[in-house]
Every structure is written in structure tokens, then in C-alpha cells.
Symmetry: C2
Subunit: 750 residues, 2 copies
Amino acid sequence: MDMDITGYLFYLVPAASLVALLFAYIFYRNMLRQDEGTPKMKEIASFVRQGAMAYLKQQYKVVVIVFLVLAAVFAFLAYGLKIQNGWVPFAFLTGGFFSGLAGFIGMKTATYASARTANAARSSLNKGLKVAFRSGAVMGLTVVGLGLLDISIWYMVLDYFINPEDISQKLTIITTTMLTFGMGASTQALFARVGGGIYTKAADVGADLVGKTEAGIPEDDPRNPATIADNVGDNVGDVAGMGADLYESYCGSVLATAALGASAFIGQGGMQVKAVFAPMLIAAVGVFLSVIGIFLVKTKENAGMGQLLKSLSLGVNFSSVLIAIFSFIILYALGLTHWLGISFSVLTGLCAGIIIGKTTEYYTSHSYKPTKKIAESAQTGPATVIISGVGTGMISTAIPVITIGVAIILAYLCATEFSADLLSKENLSFGLYGIGIAAVGMLSTLGITLATDAYGPIADNAGGNAQMSGLEPEVRDRTDVLDALGNTTAATGKGFAIGSAALTALALLASYIEEIKIALLRVADTSGLEAAVRNLNTESLALESKEALHNAGFADFMTWFDVNLMNPKVLVGIFIGAMLAFLFCGLTMGSVGRAAQKMVEEVRRQFSSDKGILDGTSTPDYARCVEISTRSAQREMIGSSLLAIAAPVAVGILLGVSGVLGLLVGGLSSGFVLAVFMANSGGAWDNAKKFVEEGNFGGKGSYAHKATVVGDTVGDPFKDTSGPSLNILIKLMSMVSIVMAGVTVALNIL
Amino acid sequence: MDMDITGYLFYLVPAASLVALLFAYIFYRNMLRQDEGTPKMKEIASFVRQGAMAYLKQQYKVVVIVFLVLAAVFAFLAYGLKIQNGWVPFAFLTGGFFSGLAGFIGMKTATYASARTANAARSSLNKGLKVAFRSGAVMGLTVVGLGLLDISIWYMVLDYFINPEDISQKLTIITTTMLTFGMGASTQALFARVGGGIYTKAADVGADLVGKTEAGIPEDDPRNPATIADNVGDNVGDVAGMGADLYESYCGSVLATAALGASAFIGQGGMQVKAVFAPMLIAAVGVFLSVIGIFLVKTKENAGMGQLLKSLSLGVNFSSVLIAIFSFIILYALGLTHWLGISFSVLTGLCAGIIIGKTTEYYTSHSYKPTKKIAESAQTGPATVIISGVGTGMISTAIPVITIGVAIILAYLCATEFSADLLSKENLSFGLYGIGIAAVGMLSTLGITLATDAYGPIADNAGGNAQMSGLEPEVRDRTDVLDALGNTTAATGKGFAIGSAALTALALLASYIEEIKIALLRVADTSGLEAAVRNLNTESLALESKEALHNAGFADFMTWFDVNLMNPKVLVGIFIGAMLAFLFCGLTMGSVGRAAQKMVEEVRRQFSSDKGILDGTSTPDYARCVEISTRSAQREMIGSSLLAIAAPVAVGILLGVSGVLGLLVGGLSSGFVLAVFMANSGGAWDNAKKFVEEGNFGGKGSYAHKATVVGDTVGDPFKDTSGPSLNILIKLMSMVSIVMAGVTVALNIL
């Protein structure tokens, strides 16, 4: 296959993007055409919608300021100090814009869909499923559509403008430049996840503590002043936050792999182009398969829970199996060197995602032993619930870590076609490319997996709407079934999210080395080779010529910078990285605690100042609770987010390249394990409570139930604030390091 | 100073050992001469003593079997397969024996001392302090005495027997051989910490849950069937466990540093001997200073709490300041190369220990804001107590990690005398030696710091004895003051324990490379150089000659084995290491949960089957509770302990040397952060409860108090089982890797 056809194949990427956005639009219009139900339902939906939009408006105000400041810093570094790529400020801004847009569209859809889902559920379970799932699909398709759009446009722009003297460097420069729009996406995602996570859990914890525990009124009761805020929270945290998060993973994995491809096949002309296009094409084909998969999700009228799950799985499995097959076809058609091995790397990623998802389900679903044991321990009170939940969450990290470990080794080995000299310069490049493409494989069907994930909060909100509107109890029962179904599919979705974050972060680690190389070449170009070496304070950087720098591989950089485990800078970097994961969680947990406390005080105040609220004779002041959550979330998100951005820069300046690599590896390894622990503990506590509510160990209102409510409340920030924010932390730290590579090269102390 | 005088100086080490053991014996005899009080007091003390001894007997039975099996494996490896040093089985057994003996003596002393402390407290606070503190000193001096004894004997034996062909290798072989007795000590320590930790917290949690929460009877009430088991637990967990733990840290830091000294000064004859003796001599002088410090601890009659604390601090500060000064003198007198810089490394270690101790105090004492905030959050119930406690614990990891990071860099830089070429082969050796000696500095005054630590549980038990014997309330008040004082000094002690574990583990990491070198030389000797290279499956191990192997430094091994952060084996190793820390904690938390559940059921059964127990008319069946704790602890400790031993072996076989190094670094970094988090969360919850009990936020019996009791119960396994066991896990994994280096070299797959 010659170069030209490869060139044409590229247009599959923008085409897939437009197809995804088109179907997202169609599903959105179809959803809007559904009836929103009774006036009461409309009113409640509009409360939630207004609250969510008000929050997002406030959030984006803060984020815009942060973005403008950072973009100005990047512009100064690029045009003032000339130590950074000039495209960075623009790439950074578009990444942030598209990521925010994906979250906004997803949330807007969700807030329109919840009452319509509840209304559809009045006629049948199946109708409810269809409205909710298709609305979730809007989010899934918007994320992948906007992601591929951003990638396509930037590729075409840079391909036109970037034509370096040394043309063999063209693709390397293009791909490493494109990576920097990932930092925009990461930054946006972090604010969305942290801010949304604090919002939703402050409202949830606050509503539960006073409502359920003190006043003894059920969940989503309209008498609870925090209940609207709670429902708004599901939208801003679980929908907008998750959308921005996965937008970032999706783009990050594709871009990092493209950069690794450009590096692995440097100087090989057409083959290099193929390696850069391969991850984009796999993602593009994944979009087409996702759209087909979404249409496969439908059931007969009066379908039961089992059938619903089967129908959802059918769509996802269809897309997964076909993308595995198509990966072999795409890579064969491209004629990529090692195409067979690299195809198996894609398969490795897919399988790892599925195994992690199934493990998550095992540890968090109350159909299995671990969660049942937590419920059982509730008989001896809240302390034993917490102890056993923490224990279970920690134990649950074993299989995901081993799976990711095996996937890393296998993806690496497959991509090198099991070469005997595993760590040669060439094989290291192939192997790292293999790890990157495994992440792409894992995320290629995001269009549909995210749909199954995003529909959960819609069903959850539909339930809230049904409750508050006083609909017939069977409607609430139906939305509960949809919600429970969502929890099961969400477990798999979370597996993909965290697993892909780990693999993507690894690929970004390698891309960081590439950026350092580019930055060194820039210094060598402007101030000569000696200046580059002197700048780095590294005597062992034994660079004879610019040629040597050009041709350097990962292994050379490891030697030049002494990035080995006996280097104290690497060791200290690893320690600090591990600590940052904990510190970041601690700060976000603290934020939730403080924000929830404010909410509790407000709810208590309203209950005591107007006795009519609990009797149901006067309406509580919902807006005030929404405002408290919004303000707390905004105030609290700044500190922890800035920490994530500042830490890699500070370590880079103090400890140089080897320290930064240590930091990233330490943060990645501890952050991954901590994220799995927190997500699974939180999930297990949630379902242990549900298990008791189903009538086990005394059922609702029993001593055991109260104990599991404590577990569930503790689990809320674990699984919905701190845990998922870690996904982004580990990627954002890599992205910041990549963007600030020029600064690290120019200034470093030790 | 010539070689001969250095030789004589060595005798300071056995001399210090004998002095320590002599004073330990004197203090023990003096304590026994005190009156044990009323018949009731004697009876209760004998219950506790019998329970503790029964537990230890059972524990040692299991441990002896494990030790014999492991020793047999080592003997087979050494004499059957000839891939291991022949001294290992014996060194392993003596390390385990002495470590167990230290724990046994400490515990025996503690169980005799508690009633005597209570009785002395009947006359005055000061008398109570003296009995308790001198009894704690028995433990401190026994640990350092036995540690130096083991080191002295083994050094003299090996010096006599080991005389290799190439005499320049003599000290390298001796020191790396001695290190393996550290594995015996680590294994013993792990069983003691894990078994004791499960025992004590099962009893504590069980006693609290039913006694305090359900039946509403106070702590240490004789009507509670689990109360004796609870008091036994303090002895087996906090005394015997801690003794074995610190015995291991103490010996490990001295031995690892000696091995690093032998490596740094290889081929330099007399200078090498000096470098090997330096850490031993610093430890020896530390013993003399500790003994003097112990005698300084006394107050006037009728001293208040402030004066008591001052008096304790006086002893510790005296020893710390003088050891800092003496380090300069010792190293100057030895005439060691870089003596001034290395002295500053010692100082760095001492300061780091103090900073970590103070930080621990800040985050866990209710005199400061963090713990007060946790207490405040109790007003909104147990869930917010847990959330804010977890948040605080996670945030509290920042300063200790940064302190250790700065200490690593400074100790390294000082030892290289701030050389410009920081990472040259020579400077790497000096720097790592500096890190090791910083750990020695931190632990040199263990004789007295451990005394202040070990006296806490004695005072705690004295309080229990006073309560159960129905002594006058002012006696309980006095023992409470002693107990509170112990909590403050224990915070500093914990800082030293975890900080020294991290530095020791780093030194062990470097020693691991030394062991690999020895193992490779052994293969080269028996089967030729090519076999050594082939065995390792590492093409990049470009070894030209045996000479090259002889002269290889750490940096060479890093290159040969590709121990850099882009090697997937290193990355996977780091991931698995991080995961193991969590898995290990999860397993031990689960064990405590299960064992506590059994205890709860037994206590409930006794209360319901004999109504007379709660009325105080019939005596509960204490023995049955002791038995339940013993059996549960024994059953539960096996799994997690074997995991810690098996994991490095499995990773070594699967992923080779680079994988093992990754595993150790991943386990060390995550384990350190996790240990600090768990210890500080647990400590803060404990003191938040005490703060409420002092009358804040409603005081005893209030809603807030009940919430803090939940926090305290959750914190128990955090701070007394899982957290401290991690200290040992990270050292034991290094020790296992060191001992199994021969196996890793002989067999590895990837």
C-alpha cells in the first residue's frame, strides 16, 4: 500500500468524527421530541436544569480565568523566553474548549432526558431504557466525535504549517505538538472532576446526613432542601465530569501513541506516517462500530432485568469483538512493520479492560461475596463496616494491578514480536508503541461504553424526578431497575476508565522523553550543543554531536539522565509522586467534608426555622442549597487542582528530568492503586447498603442498615470525588511535564 | 590512626552490647523488687501475664515451624543447588532467635511491671513514672544489646572463617553475609507485628464494640469478658511486636550501611575496615549515651505533667545532641575519607527523625488544629468523622515524605562532599553510604527512644490493672497522666521507626545490588563468566571479564540490567510493589475485622448466657476470650506474612533483577506513604475521641462522642496493625530479595 492511499485513509478520521456528531445530534433531537410528563415533573426537571447550568456557568467562569492565565504563561515561555513550542498556547486552549464542550453537551442532554425517562418509564421499562440509553449515547458520541474532530483539525493545520529544515523531524514535531492540546483537556477535566465531585458529594452527603439519618425521610424526598442540589450533583459530577475525563483519556491515548509511533519509525518515511495514523484509524473504526452497537440495544416490550442487561451487553460486546477483528485488518492493510504483533497489543488492551471491569463488578456488586461480607459486618455497627470496606477495597487492587502488569508486558512483547533482545533501542520504541496502542484498543469503543456509563445518572435522576413528582410507585421501581442496571455496566466502564488512564499515562511518560529531546534540539539550534548540555547540569550527558541527539532513543536518554533506580533524584521523585496521590485525595476528601458540613448546617437551619417543611406544608429553599454547593465546590477545587499543575513544574526545576520521571512513575503507580482502592471500597459500601435494604440482616431501618448508611456516606467521596480525580491527576501531571519540558531543560537546579 | 587501633576500637561494639544487657538486667531486677500490690492486683497481673505468655508460646510454635522450613530451603539452595551462601541458614536462624528473644524479654518485663507501676502510682506520680520508664528501658536496652551482640559475634566468626582467594573481597563477603541475619530478624518481626497486631486489635475492637457501645460499661471494666485479652494485647502487640520490629530496623541499618561501606571503599584496605566499623561504632557510642540518658530521667516528688515531659525529653535530647557531636569525633578519629561530610549525613538522619516525629505529633495530638477539626466533625456523625480522619491522614503524608526526600538528597550530597559530578561511580557509592549512615544516626539512640516508647503500654496496662482491682480513682488518674505522656513520646518514637525504615530500606536496596554481584561472581567461579551472563537472560550485560565484574559499581549494574524507568519490567515491578502494600494492609485489616467479629460474638454470648456478669455477681470467662484472640491471630497471620516472603521471590523468577528493584522501590514508596497515612489517621481518631471525652462538643456519652468512638475503633487496626506492619513489609521484601539473590540469578524467565 503506498503513501497516497494511507493519506486518503486519514480522512476516515474526520469522517468518523462527523458521523459521531451527526448521530449524537439525531439522538438528541429524538430525545427532545419525547413528552416531559406532568407539569410537576417539568417543574422539577427545570429546577435541576437551572441548578446544573448555573453551576456550569460559574465553573466555566473560574476555568476560563485559569486557562487564560496559563495560556499567557505558555505564550510568554514560547514567544518571550523562546523555550517552548509556539503552538502550545493555542493547542492548550482548544483542548480545554472541546473538553468543556463535551461535558456541557452531555450535561444538557442529561438534564433534558431525566424527566422524559421517568415519563417513558410510566408506560414501560423498555421505553424508559431506550430514552435513557439513547441520551447516554449522545454523550458517548459527542466525546468521541469532538475528540476526533480536534485531532483531525490540528493534524491538518500542523501538517500544513510545520515544515522543518530537517524534514525527517516533521512528524515528530507535529505529534509532540498535538500532545499539548491534551494538557488543555486534562486541565479542564481536572476542574470538572474535582469541582463536580465536590459539588455532588457535598450535596449528597449533606442531604443524606440530615434527611435520612436525622429527620428519617427517604431519599429524594421533596421536603429535603438539599434534594435538588443532590440531583444537580449527579449531572455536574457524574455526567459533565465523566465526559471531560474520558474525552481526555481518549485523545491522550491516541495522541501519545501517535507520538510514540513517530518516534519508533523515525526516518522511515511512509512507515512513520502509517504508525502515526494507526491509532487514529483504530479509533475512527471504533466510532462506526459504536454507532452500530448503539442501534443493537433494544428489547421486546415487558423485558425483564436479565434481558435488559443482555441487550446492553450485546451492543458493547458486538463493538468490542469487531474492533478486535478490525484492528488486525487495519494494521494489515496499512502494512505496518510488526502489524501482527501490534494487533495483538490492541487485543491485550481490550482484554485487560474487560478483566478489570469484571473484577470491579465482582468486588462491588452485592451478587458476590465481598460486598455481602461487608453487609454482614454491619451487624456489629458502623466501625466494622468501615474496616471491612477498607480491607476489601485494598484487597481488590491485586487483580487490576496484575492485569495491567501482564498487559504492559504482553503489549510490549507482542509489539516487538517476542524479540530475544527485549530492551534494544529499536525494541524499546516498538514496545512502548505497543503499550500505547493497547490503551487505544481499550478506549476504541468508548462511543458505546460511555453511553452505558452515562445513562446511569440519567436513570438515577429520573428516579429522583419520579419520587419528587409523586408518580406511581411502579415508576420509581422501574427507574430503580434501570439505575441498578446502570450500576453494573458502570462498573465495567470504570474498569476501562482507570485501566486506560494507566496505560495512557505510561505512553505519555515515553512521550515526555520525546518532548525533552525536541526541547534539547531547540536549545542546540539556538545556543549550540554545549549550552544544551550545560543547561542540564548533567555531566553524564555525553553528547558528541547534534546528530547523536537526533538519533537518540529512549535508552540513550535513560543513560544520559541516569534515570535509574539508584539515582537519588529518581528515588525522591518516586516518593513525592506517591505522596502527591495521597495528598491530592486528602485535600479533596477534606473539601467534601467541609462543603458537606455547610450543607448540613443549612438543611438543619431550614428544618428548624420553618417547621412546615417537614410537614410538607411549605416548600424548602432549594436554591440556597444549590448555591452553597456551587460556591463550596468552586472555592475548594482551586487548591488541589493547582497542586497538580504546580508539582511537576517544581520537581522539574529542582530535580531535573530524572526527578520528573520518578515523580510521574511514583504518581502513576500509587495513584492507580489508590484510585482502584477508593473506587471499589466506595462501590462496595454503596451496594452493601442496597443489599441490606433488600431485606437482609434486618433490612431498612435496622441497626445494620444504619451502619451501612455510614459506609455509603464515607464511600461517596471515595468513589465519586477522590478516586476518579486520581485518573486525571496521573495523566495531568504527565501532560504538565510534557508541556513544561522546555522549562525543565532551561532551568534546573540539582 | 593505623589499622591496629581501628581493630581495638571494634571491641567497643561487644562492650556496648554487654553494658546494655547489664543495665537491662539491673533495671529488671530492681523492678522485680518492687511490691506488686494487693492480692487482687497480683491476680489480675497474673491473668494478663499468663495470657501473654500463652500467646507468645503459641506464636513461637508457629514461627519455629516457619523458620525451620525456610532454613531447610536455604540449606538446600546453599548445599544442594550451590546457588547460595552457606552461612545463610545459620545467620537466618540466629537473627530470628535474637529478635524473638528481644520481644520475649520486653514482654516479660512489661507484664511484671504493670501492677508494680500501678502500685507505685499509689504513692506518687513520680514513683509510677520511674517504675514504668525503667521497665521500658529494659526493653530498649535489650533490643540494642542483643542487636550489637548478634553483630559482634557474627563479625568475629566470619572474620575468622571467611578468607577468600581474593582477599580484597573479604569484607564485602562478610558484610553481605551478615545482612542475611537481618532476614531472620525481619521474618520474626513480621510475625510478631502482624500476629500481635491482629491479636491486640481483635481484643480491643471486640471489647469496645460490645462493652462501651452496646452494654455501656467503661473501658477496662472487669465485667467485660474481653478486658483481659485487651490488656494481653497491649503486651503482645505494642511491646513484643514493637521490640522485634525495632530490633530489625536497628540491625538492618547498621548491617546495610556496613555492606555499603565495604562496597564504597573496596580495594582500599584499612579504609574499608573503617567504613565497615563506622556504623557499628556510632551505634555502640549511642548505647553508652542512652544509658546515661536513662539515668537522667527523674523528677522531684509531686512533679506535674509538664515537668514529667521535660524530664523525659531531657534524657532523649541529651543522648541525641551528644550522639551528633560524637559522630563527628568518631568519624574524625577513624580518619575516614569524607569524614566531615559523612558526619553531616548522620546529622541529617537525626534531624529528619525529629521533624517526622514533630509532624506526627502535630497531626495526631489534640493540642493542634487537625485533630480538633476531626472532633468537631463528629457533631455531624460517624461518617464525617471517618471522612475528615482519612483526609487528615492523607494530607499528613506530605511533610514526612518531603522530609525523607530532603534527607535522602542531603545525606547523599554531604557524603559526596557536594561533588560536582553527583552521579559518578565513586560518588554513587559514597552517596548511598551516606543514606545508610543517616539511618544509623536516626536509630543510634534507640536504647532511650525505645524506652520512652515501650513505657507507654506499661502505663496503659497499669491503668487497666488499677481499674480492675478497684484501686482509688486518683491512682487511675495518675496512670492516665503517665499514659497520656507516653502517647506524646510515642509519636516521636513512631516518627523514628517509620523514617528509619524508609532509609534502611533504601540502603538495603543498594545492598541487594551487592548481593547480586556476589551471586554472579559465584556463578562465574563455578561455571564460568558466560554462564553468569547467559543465566541472566540479559543481552546488555556486556561483561568482558571477571575483573570487570569485580570492579563493577552500582551504576554498571543499572546499565547492565537496564534498571531504568522505561524498562517495562521495572515499571511492572513498581506497580506490583505499590499494590502489595495495599494488599498487605487489606489482608491484615480483614483479619482484624474477622477476629474482632468472633470476639464480639463471644462477649455477646457470655453477656446473654449469664446475666450475672453485667451485674458484677459472676466472673466472666476471660480465658475463652484470650484463646479466641490467640487462635484468630495465629490463623490470620500466616497468609499475609507468607505473601510478603513469596512476592519478591516470584517477581525475581518472573521479571529478574530489574523487576525486583522495581518491586522494592514501588513497595517502599507506596508503603511508606500508606504507613504514615494509616498511623496518623488512627492516632488522630484516637485523640479526637479523647478531646471529646475532655468535655468538648458534648463530652462523654454525647452524639459526637459516639461518633468519635466509631473513628477510634476504625483507627485501631490502622495505627496498630496494618500501619506498623508496613514498616516491616518494606524491609522484609528487601531482605528476602537479598537472601534470594542467588535464586534470582540462577532462575529467571523474562
